[in-house]
């Protein structure tokens, strides 16, 4: 997917004006945020925090041992009858999918949700190769029918109101107009059921791959992953290399925090653990299963100081907690991964020069870090990326000069005091009309500066006390 992250501010402003998007996103994110609190801490604060630590440890250990675990995962998947392919980049992954589709003579592909496939632009590539692909996650279906892209990691249609979706279904699915959510969902279900039953190939992502057993793990609420991966003759799972976990126990920990962190569920409606194609004594399942392990920049990030960013389990909790995301919503971030984690992944994957605003699109409030089920230090990495922007000469020159001036004035008490006096005089004279302060005064009044600085008051007080003491003697 093409990156447009340098336009964060203009796109933010556009979304700010869309009242229906503001209401939809605020409602969905605050609801998910509160449901997460209830679910994660159902057994008390300590228990929930301990679970987070356990999940963080499982992912950190997996990352530490990633090279070995990848080989172990491959071996165990192969033992399960899964064909394992390694894709260095998006192009290679896309070509692999088309090759497999051609070999299988697949004309209709069904997909369950996968952000990795958004990352590599799989759908567009398939369309270019005259292969029809239908999204089966309800949110992704909505977004696909509308010619749109996902606005959230977990709930792709978060930015759409029910009314907008109703109109879309009337137009694209021939649905009878209704505002009843269940009826609308039934319309989608009927539409997709026909498609599922005639699909030749199913593509999924992977929430986790368990190295110990060679198992591909998926979660959904609609059951679309089940129909995607079991009904068609061929199943391809495209999974980022960072999704490997070491053991079934680690998976057990992570599968507890994922649905709770995402939308406050104790379990998703469907949890799948796929161990390969249909066995001789089984009556359902695909004949052939492929897992494409995707790099596309992950090993480069692994070798950098930002390895921790690969611990992300794509739960979306940071988006729901983020006061900036709640207003900006996903598209403002200009690429596949929005919100706090996206503000780190986009510059890391696509280059800092393509995402200059993103490390700054945060007040560093820390809510993201507080909710992350694997304790990623998002604010810390945002600060590091801001440092990188300066070090790589991508910061505006006026800031370079301004900061040097600030450092000089604020490291010398004499200059600092003089500067403070000037500022007080200036604001008292000019009121709200101070030059170069438009960024502040466009929407906020300047504070009232006091006549004397604290240090002046302190020194006067000390003088008085000294004089009083002297006169008492």
């Amino acid at each position: 997917m093409k990156v447009n992250a340098n336009n964060f501010v203009p796109m933010f402003k556009v979304n700010l004006q869309k009242q229906d998007v503001q209401e939809a996103v605020h409602y969905a994110t605050t609801l998910a945020y509160h449901k997460r609190l209830d679910a994660m801490f159902a057994y008390g604060q300590e228990h929930g925090e301990a679970l987070r630590q356990q999940a963080a440890e499982a992912k950190r250990r997996a990352l530490r041992n990633l090279p070995d675990l990848l080989e172990k995962a491959e071996a165990n998947m192969q033992a399960n009858g899964i064909e394992v392919l390694w894709a260095a980049d998006a192009d290679e992954a896309n070509r692999m999918v088309v090759d497999i589709a051609r070999q299988s003579e697949a004309e209709l592909i069904v997909k369950s949700k996968s952000m990795a496939t958004e990352e590599i632009g799989l759908n567009a590539y398939l369309e270019q190769n005259d292969i029809t692909v239908v999204e089966t996650d309800l949110g992704e279906l909505i977004v696909q029918l509308d010619g749109d892209t996902p606005g959230h990691l977990v709930t792709p249609a978060v930015h759409k109101t029910k009314a907008a979706i109703r109109d879309l279904f009337v137009r694209e699915l021939g649905m009878e107009p209704t505002d009843d959510a269940q009826e609308m969902t039934m319309a989608a279900r009927q539409h997709l059921r026909r498609i599922f039953l005639s699909a030749d190939l199913g593509i999924s992502g992977g929430n986790f791959i368990i190295a110990e057993t060679g198992t591909v793990c998926l979660v959904t609420n609609e059951g679309n992953a089940r129909l995607t991966t079991v009904l068609p003759k061929v199943h391809i799972a495209i999974v980022g290399i960072e999704k490997i976990v070491e053991t079934v126990d680690d998976y057990a920990t992570l599968t507890q925090v994922l649905p709770r962190s995402a939308i406050g569920q104790t379990m998703p409606v469907y949890t799948h653990m796929l161990n390969g194609p249909r066995r001789a004594d089984e009556t359902s399942g695909p004949e052939k299963v492929y897992v494409i392990l995707l790099d596309n920049g992950r090993s480069r990030i692994y070798d950098s100081t930002y390895t921790e960013a690969l611990a992300c389990i794509r739960c979306g909790a940071c988006l729901n907690a983020c006061p900036v995301y709640r207003i900006a919503s996903g598209h403002a971030y200009g690429w596949v991964y929005p919100g706090p984690i996206g503000s780190i992944l986009t510059p890391l994957f696509t280059g800092l020069e393509n995402a200059k605003p993103l490390p700054h699109a945060s007040s560093l409030c820390g809510s993201c870090k507080q909710v992350c089920p694997v304790e990623i230090d998002i604010p810390g990495m945002l600060l590091d990326l801001r440092r990188d922007l300066v070090a790589e000469g991508l910061s505006p020159q006026v800031w370079d000069w301004g900061m040097k001036g600030w450092a000089l004035a604020f490291s010398k008490p004499g200059l600092f005091s003089a500067g403070g006096t000037a500022a007080r005089l200036g604001t008292n004279l000019l009121g709200q009309n101070i030059p170069f302060t438009g960024a502040w005064t466009n929407s906020r009044d300047m504070p009232e500066f006091a006549d004397k600085s604290f240090r002046q008051l302190w020194q006067e007080r000390s003088q008085e006390a000294y004089q009083k003491g002297a006169s008492d003697e």
Partner: protein, 267 residues
Amino acid sequence: MELPERPSPAGKRVSLFATCIVDMIYPQTGMAVVNILEHLGIAIEFPLEQTCCGQPGFNAGYRNEARQVAAQFLRAFKDAEVIVTPSGSCAAMIRHEYPGLFADDPDLLAQAERVAAITWEFTEYLVDGLGITDLELSLPKPASFAFHDSCHGLRMLGLGQAARTLMQHVENASIYDLNENDVCCGFGGTFSIKMPEVSSAMLQNKIANIAQCEADTILTTDVSCMTQMNGGLKRNNIPKQVRHIAEVLAAGLPTNTLVGLPKDKTQ
């Protein structure tokens, strides 16, 4: 919190770190802290060599410049036994970031770790450091309050209860809830002018919540948040104010003990 344990500050002389904003714009906040500590019989000094913690530069990605300013902090406080500051974000900068900022210089690193281990935000100093839960204060007139939980204090320092504890027993103070009290006001330091539209949009949500709050005054542990919120309240003609908790607490002290506070700021 991954921050290391601090030795008890009880019985030790306090060196006040006013912070650049308090020193330059809100001296009454610093004086309020002085009044409260002197009322408690705590010896307090103000090292005149102090300027700023360096957070603006650090925040904006200018590590060298931030280090330059932070080095002045180390010089100013080299003899301090306990450092108290009326700012959660500055305390967080010192405790969380100073060691990393000076990691390359063993001598400065030792100084950085030393100050990180003796720095206290004002409310946590009183409640967690000294174990005070009731300052025995009485406001001159009945007043209503709610809390805005400043982000650095809440999430990096684990503050939150201390401010509420201190206000709990204040006579003539009624405490109300503020909707979305722990959602960021949008200041974020340099963020407020680097991303002014985003900062302002977040501020709009915050002042809408304040306008609907039953309390007249919102309390905060950070004048930075206060500046953002008051700036928005004034611009939108909302007749409520945000105040630093130290000033409100000081207003509850016996008036004949107050020094350095202009009369009208004590209400």
